[in-house]
Symmetry: C2
Subunit: 175 residues, 2 copies
C-alpha cells in the first residue's frame, strides 16, 4: 500500500471514531455526570467495604462506602491526599425497620436496607478536577446520571467544608 | 533405606504431627468457636457486600454483611437453601453520631461506624452441622473466638425462628 493510501485510510478511520465520540457526548446526560463527566465505574458493586453509615433526616438511608483498589490501599495505610485513580462509591438504600426481625428478637430494634436510593461516585484526578480539590462527582439512580448541575455543586460545597487533612472525604476506614 | 526404617520415621513424623494437632486443640477456645469449631476465615474483610443494617437497643451497632464467592452467587441468584461452602461474615461497629458531619449538613442526622464490636461467621455444611439446619456459627472479638457455648446456642435459637424459605439467614441481597 502506498503512503498516500495509508494516510487516507487513517484519516477515514479517525473520522469514524470522531463520529462515535460525538454520539457518546450526546448521550452524556444519561451516562456521565454534569460538570464533571464522571461515569458509574464498571464492577463497583463488587468493591471492598470502606465503612457503613446511616443518614437520618430527609435522606433516611443506610449506606455502604466502597472503594476501588487504589482507594482501599489509601484508606488502609492512611495515605492523604488520596492518589489519582482513587474512586469511592457510596451506595445507599432506604432505611427500613424489620418487623420480622423485631418479632424474633422480641424488641423493636432492627433496621435494614430497603430499595436502593442512589449511588454517588467520587473520582480523584488532581489535574482534571484541580478547581474542586482534585475530586469529580456523580450521582446515579438506576444506573443513570442525575443531570442536575445544582446537585453537583452541592457535592463540592459540602465536601470542601471538611478539615483539610480529610482531603474532602467524609468516610474513615472501619477496621 | 530399609522398609523398617521408613516405617519408624513415618511413625515419628506422625507423632510430631499429632503433638502439633494436640497443641492446636488446646488453643481451640481462641481460634475456633465452641460447639461448631468455626474459624475466622482468612481474607473475609475483603469480601463483597451482601447488605448493611443497624441494630439499635443493647447492641447499638451499624453493620455490614459480607459473603464469600459461593454466598454472593447464592444471594444474587436467590438460590435457597444456600449450598455447602457458603460463608457469611457479619461485621459490626459501634453506632456513633458524627458531630463533624452534622455541623457540615446543618442537621443532627449523621451516624457512622465507630470502633469494631465483633464479627459473626456462619458456615454452611449440611453434613457437619446437620443438627442445626446445616449452619455452624462463631463470634469473634479482635480475631479471637468467644468461648461461650451459651452464646452459640442463642445463634441457633434465633436463626431457627426465621421462615423456612430464608434458610436461617436474616439478610437479603441489597442490589
Amino acid at each position: 500500500m502506498k503512503m498516500a493510501t495509508v494516510r487516507a485510510l487513517t484519516i477515514s478511520t479517525l473520522a469514524i471514531f470522531s463520529i462515535g465520540a460525538l454520539a457518546a457526548a450526546q448521550d452524556a446526560p444519561a451516562s456521565v455526570s454534569p460538570l464533571f463527566g464522571v461515569a458509574l465505574p464498571s464492577g463497583y458493586r463488587d468493591w471492598q467495604v470502606v465503612s457503613v453509615a446511616h443518614e437520618a433526616g430527609d435522606l433516611n438511608d443506610v449506606r455502604a462506602i466502597l472503594g476501588n483498589s487504589i482507594a482501599m490501599q489509601a484508606f488502609r495505610t492512611g495515605r492523604r491526599p488520596f492518589p489519582d485513580g482513587t474512586i469511592i462509591a457510596r451506595l445507599a438504600w432506604k432505611y427500613e425497620s424489620s418487623p420480622r426481625n423485631d418479632a424474633i428478637f422480641g424488641k423493636a430494634q432492627s433496621f435494614v436496607a430497603g430499595a436502593p436510593t442512589n449511588v454517588q461516585i467520587e473520582v480523584k484526578d488532581s489535574r482534571r478536577y484541580a478547581a474542586t480539590g482534585g475530586w469529580g462527582y456523580g450521582q446515579f439512580v438506576d444506573g443513570r446520571a442525575d443531570p442536575s448541575e445544582a446537585l453537583m455543586k452541592t457535592c463540592v460545597t459540602c465536601h470542601s467544608k471538611l478539615p483539610a487533612p480529610d482531603d474532602r472525604i467524609f468516610t474513615s476506614y472501619a477496621p
